[in-house]
Symmetry: C2
Subunit: 343 residues, 2 copies
């Protein structure tokens, strides 16, 4: 089958969101694929990862990566199967991890593709064995440096990153307190993931509950939400605390700075007087060279049943926009993945 | 001479300042010294160090150290001479570094005292060879980790800490931009200390001048002032920048948070998107065990003429309050030290 006979379906950025994204910001388009040139290969997307960072790419505010252009396909990590190949390093049937984005097929020159070995569950390469798991691993261990007996707090605790952060912290002998939205997620975090406690951030007395659950203060706060959760965490941070910053999902839809007073100086003062380290990181930029080490360790933990995970699988490319909009509202439960094709 | 015959003169905290300290917050008192007990020694203060951190000790807001109680002698680092000793480890005539505070004599049990060897200029143990120099050394090298060719920015560049930060950064092969108050200090920083540039923070176009002097952005910002200087630095911080936080003198007199908008989330977002590390430290708490390493290296640099320093010597204990009030206004020029006695 020549690639030129395939109609490629993709979801492009139709317009930049103001505040929370809506369905209008996305558009499904269909175009025939061009024929493969020498050195190219055709990929069929099996799984598309949906992650909070994509909200940043929809805006043209300065960020760590160039924005998606209006009319361009939305970015995203993918697990794909090679359909046909004119590339010496890939053959039909190979499974690869890449960044095809929100589309069912992609033509690639092979750059940026990682061949996946025999994985029982290939979608895990987008979750616990992929970017979110790697983010949790390096952010917690390299920046957070938790020690046995310390208190580690992580928000979005049932999510792709937070769930792994907390479980690794438990393996280090820490007391682990999760934060999640709603009783069901909190139960899952404690009962299934083994956290010591989990606080519902929707509770009216959330800050008081968090304080009670962290009677010894907080030594490591893994920051992936910001906003009101960080406000509750800040007064609990211990002398010498470490705050790896991997995301700020609570602020992604903000269109303006919140009203005062201005607490920028208060944050700096807290870092000073409590000798706190706060450090942002972008996983592949900062730690790409250590992915192999992570993959080996995490595979081992999975095999031993020491790390559990949960996928929230959405069926079909057409449902990606709604699923993504829900992700920013905390509606997913587990790592959000879109199944684009079965094989 | 028995110690009981000596009238001890000391400056105590008379009241807690609201905003900037005034002369009324200090009071000179005179009391006869008690006789020495076994294991004690009597110290005569030669030099008293005045440093911005003392402002924090005058307040009872939560901080990294307990406040000075009202009526208690003000804290401060001192170089003293042993007058008489009933302590086996010290003898009359020994020079010691300690924390006698703002007073001309002190009775000590020897704890916390460091014997000073033969120093040509003993007051340097309060400056370039003491706490400020040590702060500059560890904050810059251990947290800032400057690499040759990078741009390092330091405020209060003619001061006790900033002057050393910039000179060490030059020794590392960095481009160094200082910030200071007034043309005279800026000239000194460039002409005498060898910084590549120095910007007057009082200039109306300060932020624009700083941007022009940091055409390649800022890789290390050594934070010792906060306030408007940090506001100008923040947009210039490069991806991967490091921000050691050793002081926030601009905010020490604040009685309330400044008006909005609230930029706490903006700071967190900047740390995230530019992968910045911001880390507070308290020099002896975090690095006390490495003082020997610092002292050896700095002594070597001084001997080789690689580090220059400037003292702002004030004569007499009575003048300490006004000198300290001036320090918080940037009126000193170089390391502020009070000479209490000549020998």
């Amino acid at each position: 089958m020549s690639s030129s006979q395939i109609i490629q379906r993709k979801i492009v950025l139709a317009s930049r969101p103001i505040g929370a994204p809506t369905a209008d910001n996305f558009r499904l388009t269909e175009t025939p694929l061009p024929a493969l040139a020498e050195g190219q290969l055709l990929l069929r997307t099996l799984y598309l990862s949906l992650d909070p960072y994509m909200r940043g790419r929809m805006s043209d505010a300065p960020s760590y990566a160039a924005p998606v252009a209006v009319g361009e396909v939305m970015v995203g990590g993918t697990v794909s199967k090679v359909v046909t190949s004119q590339h010496p390093d890939f053959k039909a049937g190979d499974l690869v991890l890449g960044m095809s984005g929100w589309q069912d097929h992609a033509v690639s020159d092979g750059s940026g593709l990682t061949r996946l070995g025999a994985l029982e569950q290939p979608s895990l390469a987008l979750g616990v064995l992929g970017m979110p798991g790697f983010t949790a691993y390096m952010g917690l261990l390299d920046i957070g440096q938790p020690k046995a007996g310390e208190t580690v707090v992580v928000a979005a605790a049932s999510g792709a990153v937070g769930s792994v952060v907390g479980q690794i912290a438990k393996l280090q002998g820490c007391r682990v307190v999760g934060i999640a939205g709603g009783a069901e997620k909190c139960r899952y975090v404690v009962d299934q993931l083994g956290f010591d406690a989990c606080i519902d951030h929707r509770a009216a007395d959330f800050a008081a509950q968090l304080g009670a659950a962290c009677a010894q203060g907080i030594d490591v706060y893994f920051e992936n939400v910001g906003g009101a959760v960080f406000d509750a965490v800040l007064p609990l941070l211990n002398v010498g605390a470490r705050v790896p910053v991997c995301g700020l999902i609570a602020n992604y839809n903000d269109t303006a700075l919140p009203p005062g007073p201005d607490r920028l100086g208060l944050l700096a003062r807290t870092l000073l007087t409590r000798r706190i380290k706060m450090q942002g990181f972008i996983i592949f930029d900062d730690y790409g060279h250590r992915y192999g080490e992570f993959f080996q360790q995490m595979s081992q933990w999975l095999k031993e049943g020491k790390i559990r995970f949960r996928e929230d699988m959405v069926e079909g490319l057409d449902n990606a926009p709604q699923a993504f909009i829900g992700l920013l509202q905390g509606k997913n439960f587990g790592k959000l993945v879109v199944r684009i094709a079965n094989d």
